[in-house]
Amino acid sequence: MKINLVVELEDKPGQLLKVLTPIAKYGGNIIGIIHNRKVQQKSVLVDVVFEIAEDRADKLLEEIKSSGITIRNVNEIKLSEKISVLLVGHIIHTDISDTINRIDSTGFAEVTEMDISMPELNKPSTALITISAVNKEKLEEALKILRKICEEKKIKVVEPLNEEA
């Protein structure tokens, strides 16, 4: 499962490790950290998005709490909206993992499916990728990021017909 955890940390070195170390210990995979909102003189709010096996989540949160960290908010991120787009171009040679990472690292959207066809070396390849996001607005935002990446990498994006009125 994917979790968005908001914690309040003292504004001094080493505090973030108190959150990240237990996540790593329970086998969690950190997707994104947003670390810039000062709430008071001496503390900051930090958003951590990570993935973790469902049966370990409770234990992990308890451990973070017991280390004295104030948890402001915990949310499971459900990717309820999805869209499939077709990419045509040099998808592999333009660093496919970078393309995927830049979507996944948003924390609100990820590439959940990918179907690639490579005809010949040095010829354009094709991929049908599915992006999932927490809601429609975030899906549109993820799509914008993808359009920008593909413009940079000269990959053609074929988007689906939008089925809403």
């Binding site: 499939s84 077709l86 066809s117």
Partner: protein
């Protein structure tokens, strides 16, 4: 007696002449008697009580008409009631059609055109001119050929709250893409066959780069959604980069690819994934449009987007729309 002038005597102008001959009785039943008082192409003309049969055979045999009055002289000086403007499209300047249409409207003459250029360049100006001079401008033939769209939306869907319109507005692209879907052949190969068959122009860029579809989209946006937009406002992508593999991957997942022109919040012409069972998934040179409304749901039309008689038939429907004597309520 309704007096007609035909300016532009290429494929479309000749198509109009043929239909005026062939459908004379049917048309006169609806609008009363008419006659053609002038026909002009870019370098010659025939004026007076024009014998269309003769004009058609003359043009066919000699490549020109017998007289020397210029198109502009006719548009400016002759006493016609309605001008059929069938000159070739130029989406940048709109000329020569733009000057013809403006001149006729300023004189209070009705105009029926198949020429996209003037409408893309100056839709609002032309509408104001028509209104000011109490005359009508018919342009059904500029979008989708014989496929009814302009009058369908303006008249039959009036009051339904048009939200978006999208569709396939270029038959050449659709022909290429539907063959790529079915035969999985490379784009270049199908394009060169299309050129050989006369489905694509020798210089196909106007079609395959999406320019033609974008011009039509601008007309739709201005005329049917009151957008007040220009050609430069359209985001345009063509079909040249598409590969057979793209179709393979798409079809495997239940989609095909079609060049879709869409106006809603934004204007764009681009290849899109279309579900295989979607009504816009049409094959060959056909055109199609989906009109998404607030109160009437979705309405689809499919028809022939180009061709001599198809385009002319849309112009004849404008003629009848302007002069119809019949009350359609019974």
């Amino acid at each position: 007696m309704i007096k007609i002038a035909i300016i532009g005597f290429g494929t479309v102008g000749q198509g109009v002449a043929e239909l005026l001959l062939r459908k004379k009785n049917e048309i006169e039943e609806r609008i009363g008697k008419f006659k053609v008082i002038a026909v002009a192409d870019s370098k010659s003309s025939v004026v007076g009580d024009v014998d269309l049969e003769k004009a058609l055979s003359e043009k066919k045999k000699r490549g020109r008409l017998s007289g020397n009055k210029t198109a502009m002289e006719i548009v400016e000086d002759f006493e016609y009631d309605v001008l059929f403007e069938c000159t070739p499209t130029n989406v940048e300047s709109g000329e020569p059609g733009l000057t013809h249409i403006k001149t006729a409207l300023k004189r209070g003459k009705n105009v029926i055109t198949s020429n996209k250029g003037p409408l893309v360049v100056a839709y609002n100006e032309l509408c104001k001119l028509a209104e000011k001079n109490s005359c009508k401008l018919g342009f059904e033939a500029t979008v989708g050929g014989a496929m009814p769209l302009i009058k369908l939306v303006k008249n039959d869907l009036a009051g339904s709250g048009i939200l978006r319109i999208r569709g396939i507005l270029n038959g050449t692209c659709n022909y290429i893409l539907s063959r790529m879907e079915v035969e999985r052949m490379p784009y270049e190969q199908i394009l060169s066959e299309a050129i050989e068959l006369g489905i694509a122009e020798a210089d196909p860029s106007y079609d395959v780069k999406g320019i033609d579809a974008a011009a039509k989209l601008v007309i739709i946006a201005n005329a049917l959604l009151e957008k007040n937009v220009r050609f430069e406002d359209v985001h345009i992508e063509g079909i040249e980069d598409l590969t057979p593999e793209a179709f393979e991957v798409a079809v495997k997942r239940g989609y095909t690819i079609r060049l879709i022109a869409e106006v809603g919040e934004t204007l764009r012409v681009s290849p899109r994934l279309v579900p295989l069972n979607h009504p816009l998934n049409i094959y060959g040179t056909l055109n199609a449009a989906e009109i998404i409304t607030e109160t009437a749901g979705r309405v689809f039309v499919i028809g022939r987007g180009a061709g001599k008689l198809e385009t002319a038939s849309a112009m004849i429907s404008d003629l009848i729309d302007i002069y119809d004597r019949r009350d359609l309520r019974c």
